[in-house]
């Protein structure tokens, strides 16, 4: 019965009708169902029907301490005389079974030859024809009908109001009674389902040879169906009772790890929840041990990563994401832990071309597994963009060096100042078992606007590289305009500010919301005094020899294009602005001009005609993802792929962990105290001129780790153990164990687990719904 506000059954008027002959009094009815199926209410509905017919009724459930899923009985008694019998029903005249999976001796106990039996099952009557040959027997798919009529919820279908329709038909009682009763109880909405059941129930009459006394499956005599009257002896039985109630349950809880959303989101494949929990319980070295398995550049990512992990953090739905990036930085800054390389069964020799994050990650993974790696780098130092792109106030030199030192300590050879060209490529291919090509993006795009070749206009990347290579940064005066909206543009703007510019304007053709740069970086830039001119497109530069001004057209946003961002529509409206320097930051091309002509790229691998070569692409030149963490994840993936091919094993490496991800709704927020995120400390200066010191100083401690819910991973918090009403959970060597003999499958432990480290599984009873 859908729980309507029905206080009781008014019995003001009774329905007059003649009862079928075979209903004799006192009439006793018994129902068998499972906790949660509504059997007790079903008995009440039946009682209400007889009450409507002017008879005395009584109805009650057989209540136990058991919860959802455990077998439950309910009874109704009907008589013309007032009812004095206060006992349970041991010899029912009518038996209703709400769940065919319950059909076993205790259910059929005491059912006499004249009894009528009604079963809820989608099966055909024939299946039970033999078993119930001696009874009047009805079978109805009440669950199916109730579900069709939308009674209950999609997961819990409530069948009692439907089943009663079939009951009436089985007893040849007219439907009108039902209308009176359901209307009186505010159940009009369920009438249609009851009527359908009334129509559809298959009824089999007892076979003429019905001489047998009881249902066949009981195999017993009626008399044995009553519980034995025990002698008057003292009762000594051990506590707890020997009744193994676990056999009643349909579900069993179990401990299982689920994927934390942060882990799922980290492109590098970091075990975020793992390193945070390790930091929390055992400190930075333990955390580093977890982190370094996937992350060779924790000091770098702990500073410059856009941290998609934090966007997905479940704590966002409560009081703000865990500050994962800065915890990663904390670990890197506070641990000197080193992973020891393994010994490879068969060591291969590989060359990595390009010493940026992708190449470093690939080399790290290979070296960790005991292989020989040589990195060929065209610049004089390793690091790629980390070395010549990202400015030092974001990523200090010594920080990068620390990570590089740890990487090289694995025994990796690095050959710098060694640009690889087509011929060299072919040679390396001969000399090494495999090559990993991770050369990053290529040349930057130009604007193709009039006057672009004037002095004072240059690529921002060149400016950044020069600025990092020279000790004191580059001196730059006057009004600077930076064109672009990505990380390079922001870095150019902030570096220009530090290099002496009197003003820095950032010109971007779409709106601020669409800027691809990391949000925190944009905020920092604006705070430091960079002015943003959004929805502007440079159409020409003015000046004689040296740039003196820039013409900007206003931009409107049109329909979204392929990547979902709205297409910029350049208008005729223009304005002019003075400037003395222009830095272009419009993105980079992705070309591979160092491949011999007869080689082609197919799915990140190099092929010669129909032959795959042992050369793979990694990082930005393969994926164009454009972040350090992506480059690291891809570098690892490609290294594993190469190793698998070399050693002849199949591999399906993935960066994202497989399995079901813990949703916010699966975390019990109420279990955790509200605690605002610990913010990074920032160096705030009057002016950033000439200051290339690191701006973000990170966290002041590691308390932020306490905020992590540990989504999907047991912390041994004991909540399940404490909440189990049956006390069947105990600690075991490395977690918990559940005593299946007594577990009722109530699922309270699972519901109480604050972090979804448990789940209920079906014990596989056939017909349980």
């Amino acid at each position: 019965m859908a729980q309507k506000k029905t206080r009781s059954t008014p019995q003001s008027s009774t329905t007059k009708m003649v009862l079928p002959d075979d209903i004799t009094f006192p009439l006793e009815i018994r129902l068998h169902g499972r906790g949660g199926q509504g059997g007790v209410t079903c008995a009440k509905l039946i009682a209400a029907i007889y009450a409507q017919l002017g008879l005395n009724v009584q109805t009650f459930g057989d209540y136990g301490a058991e919860r959802s899923g455990a077998p439950v009985r309910a009874f109704a008694r009907v008589d013309r005389a007032p009812i004095r019998n206060r006992n349970k029903v041991y010899q029912p005249d009518h038996l209703l079974v709400l769940d065919a999976a319950l059909l076993a001796p205790p259910v059929l106990d005491g059912v006499g030859a004249k009894a009528a039996i009604l079963l809820n099952s989608p099966e055909a009557a024939e299946k039970y024809a033999e078993t119930f040959a001696d009874f009047r027997f009805g079978i109805i798919d009440a669950t199916g009908i109730a579900r069709k009529h939308g009674i209950g919820t999609s997961s819990v279908v409530i069948i009692n109001t439907t089943l009663v329709g079939a009951y009436l038909r089985l007893l040849e009682l007219p439907l009108e009674v039902l209308e009176d009763v359901y209307t009186g109880m505010g159940l009009e909405d369920d009438l249609a389902a009851a009527k359908e059941a009334y129509q559809k129930v298959q009824v089999c009459q007892p076979s003429p040879r019905a001489t047998q006394k009881t249902a066949k499956t009981t195999g017993g005599q009626l008399e044995t169906c009553l519980p034995e009257v025990k002698p008057q002896t003292e009762h000594f039985e051990d506590i707890p009772s020997r009744l193994k109630t676990g056999s009643w349950s349909t579900q069993l809880p179990g401990y299982e790890d689920y994927v934390a959303p942060c882990n799922h989101a980290c492109p590098a494949g970091n075990d975020v929840v793992g390193f945070i929990q390790a930091l929390k319980t055992s400190g930075p070295d333990a955390a580093a041990e977890v982190l370094l398995h996937t992350q060779p550049l924790p000091s770098v990512c702990g500073r410059v990563c856009p941290a998609p992990c934090m966007h997905e953090c479940n704590r966002n739905q409560m009081d703000g994401a865990v500050n994962i990036r800065s915890l990663e930085r904390w670990i890197a800054d506070h641990s000197d832990f080193r992973l020891q390389p393994e010994k490879a069964a068969k060591a291969f020799s590989l060359a990595v071309i390009g010493g940026g994050p992708a190449g470093l990650s690939a080399a790290w993974q290979l070296a960790l597994r005991g292989h020989q790696v040589t990195i060929f780098e065209k610049e004089s130092k390793l690091g790629g963009v980390l070395r010549y792109g990202i400015p030092v106030y974001r990523l200090p030199e010594e920080v990068l060096e620390r990570d590089l030192k740890r990487i090289l300590a694995l025994g990796i050879t690095s050959v710098c100042d060694h640009p690889v060209d087509k011929a060299e490529m072919a040679r390396l291919h001969q000399d090494y078992d495999a090559l990993i090509l991770s050369k990053g993006f290529s040349d930057a795009y130009n604007l193709a606007a009039a006057g672009e070749s004037l002095d004072g206009i240059e690529q921002g990347l060149d400016f950044l590289a020069r600025s990092r290579k020279s000790e004191s940064g580059e001196n730059l005066v006057g009004d600077v305009v930076v064109i672009g909206g990505g990380n390079t543009a922001i870095d150019c703007a902030r570096t220009a500010l530090r290099s002496g510019a009197s003003s820095v304007k950032l010109v971007y053709r779409r709106s601020r919301d669409e800027m691809p740069a990391i949000e925190e970086e944009i905020q920092d830039a604006l705070r430091e005094g960079v002015q943003l001119l959004a929805l502007r497109q440079p159409v020409a530069f003015r000046g004689v020899g040296q740039v003196a001004g820039i013409v900007l057209a206003e931009v409107e946003l049109g329909e979204p294009d392929a990547d979902g961002r709205r297409r910029p529509l350049v208008t005729e409206r223009t304005s002019e602005m003075n400037c003395s320097r222009v830095l272009l930051a419009l993105g980079q091309q992705n070309t591979l001009d160092l491949l011999p002509d007869c080689w082609q790229i197919r799915k990140d691998r190099i092929w010669q005609k129909d032959q795959p070569l042992n050369i793979w692409l990694a990082g930005d030149c393969a994926t164009a993802d454009g972040t350090v963490t992506h480059a690291i994840g891809n570098g690892r993936l490609v290294a594993m792929e190469a190793l698998a091919k070399l050693s002849g094993t199949e591999s399906t490496p993935t960066t994202t962990p497989q399995g079901s991800v813990v949703a916010p709704a699966q975390v019990r927020f109420s279990h955790f105290p509200v605690l605002a995120p610990h913010q990074d400390r920032h160096r705030v200066l009057e002016t950033y001129q000439n200051s290339f010191e690191e701006v973000n100083l990170g966290l002041s401690g590691q308390e932020e780790a306490e905020r992590c819910f540990s989504c999907g991973r047991c912390t041994q918090c004991d909540t399940c153990l404490v909440y189990c009403p049956d006390g069947v959970i105990s600690r075991s060597e490395n977690g918990y164990q559940i005593d299946e003999d007594y577990c009722k499958g109530c699922g309270i432990c699972v519901a109480e687990c604050p972090r979804r480290a448990m789940d209920l599984r079906d014990k596989g009873l056939s017909d349980v719904r």
Partner: protein, 386 residues
């Protein structure tokens, strides 16, 4: 008057609701409640009712639920609550206070075994905790009786000659969760039966204290007044029965419900629903020519001693059934009534249905058959019932 198919828990709550509404022209109704199986549905029902000038406060414990009732009653409101088992045990300290303040609070108890080990089924051990505290105690045997008893309890409690709390007991689950037809009077009838409550000691504009420190002698006097008032309840109850009959057209059950007892040689004595099972057994044995009768003790405090002595007179055998154990002694009812029997009667105590077992006629037939053979009373026996 209408007939409704409701559980005894709801019947108790409905009676309390109607009684609460009947006090709208006076100081209203206020009730502190806290859930515990199998009494929960009673308090839930009450929480869902709209009672003019009434408030049901969901307390944070049974102890405070009774505290709220005490405050409400001391301020002149009609008051009611419900609990059982260990909830009642936790409430006891304030139950002592409610009685000491002589406040007319009515409480419904769906009797449940005291734990641990935990058990949710019927046993009278919980309400018997209050035996000596100065509460009236009434035990019912069907849903109608539960309803009627709660109504009568307010009249009893608030009668100026009595003025003390009343406990209305029903067997947990066996009654509390059984639905049956119950006749429900109209509010207008209830208003007639239950006039506005006057609580003479209520805290009002003139400052005074309740239950202040007193000397030994004052305490003796107060105890003796309380005791005398309780003894007077039998007389007052019969007046209430008359008034009830006049207004509702049916008579609420007597303090002792005797059934074919007059000419019986063997008598079964019991409380609660065991009594109706006893009556069925009496019918069965009478059919076989045996002179058996039953007495159901509905009013346990004050215990109708004179009437019991009268009924017990001349009986050969008396089987006293207790759904409780006074550990180290025997059944509580047996302990109280055995002395009312003739000197040569055999009075045998049985503790049966303890912890909620389903006591069937067969159990009673068995023990009666054995009793017929015995020549003298033995120590009280514990009967195992599944």
């Amino acid at each position: 008057m209408s007939v409704e198919l409701i559980s005894a828990n709801h019947a108790a709550a409905l009676a309390a609701t109607l009684a609460g509404r009947a006090n709208r022209s006076a100081r209203g109704f206020c009730s502190g409640v806290y859930p515990i199986t199998p009494s929960t549905e009673c308090m839930e029902f009450l929480c869902g009712q709209e009672i003019e000038k009434g408030k049901v406060v969901r307390a944070d414990s049974e102890h405070n639920a009774m505290g709220i009732c005490i405050g409400a009653s001391a301020a002149g409101a009609r008051s009611f609550t419900t609990t059982c088992s260990n909830g009642l045990a936790y409430m006891v300290e304030n139950c002592v206070a409610a009685a000491g303040y002589r406040l007319p609070i009515v409480m419904s108890v769906a009797n449940r075994t005291l734990g641990p080990p935990w058990n949710i089924w019927a046993d009278h051990g919980d309400s018997l905790l209050l035996r000596d505290l100065g509460w009236l105690q009434l035990y019912s045997a069907d849903n109608q009786e539960v309803f009627d008893t709660v109504l009568c309890a307010f009249r009893l409690a608030e009668d100026p000659r009595i003025l003390m709390p009343v406990l209305c007991c029903m067997d947990g689950f066996i009654l509390s969760h059984t639905m049956a037809q119950v006749e429900i009077p109209t509010q207008e009838q209830i208003d007639r039966f239950l006039p506005p409550a006057t609580i003479p000691q209520r805290l009002d504009k003139a400052a005074h204290t309740l239950g202040q420190m007193e000397t030994p002698h004052q305490s003796v006097v107060h105890r003796s007044q309380h005791h005398q008032a309780m003894l007077g309840a039998r007389q007052v109850y019969s007046e209430i029965q008359d008034s009830f009959t006049e207004i509702f057209g049916r008579r609420p059950a007597d303090p002792l419900v005797s059934y074919r007892a007059e000419d019986a040689e063997t008598l079964i004595v019991s409380m609660g629903t065991l009594g109706v099972t006893a009556e069925r057994v009496v019918d069965q044995l009478r059919d076989q020519g045996q002179a058996v009768g039953s007495v159901r003790v509905r009013m346990f405090r004050p215990l109708p001693d004179t009437e019991l002595r009268q009924l017990f007179g001349g009986k050969k055998r008396i089987a006293v059934l207790d759904r409780d154990i006074s550990i180290g002694f025997g059944g509580a009812l047996w302990g109280e009534v055995r002395n009312f029997a003739d000197r040569d009667s055999i009075v045998q105590g049985y503790m049966i249905g303890v912890g909620g077992g389903d006591v069937r006629p067969e159990h009673l037939l068995n023990l009666l058959a054995e009793l017929e053979q015995s020549e003298e009373s033995a120590a009280p026996k514990i009967v195992e019932v599944a």
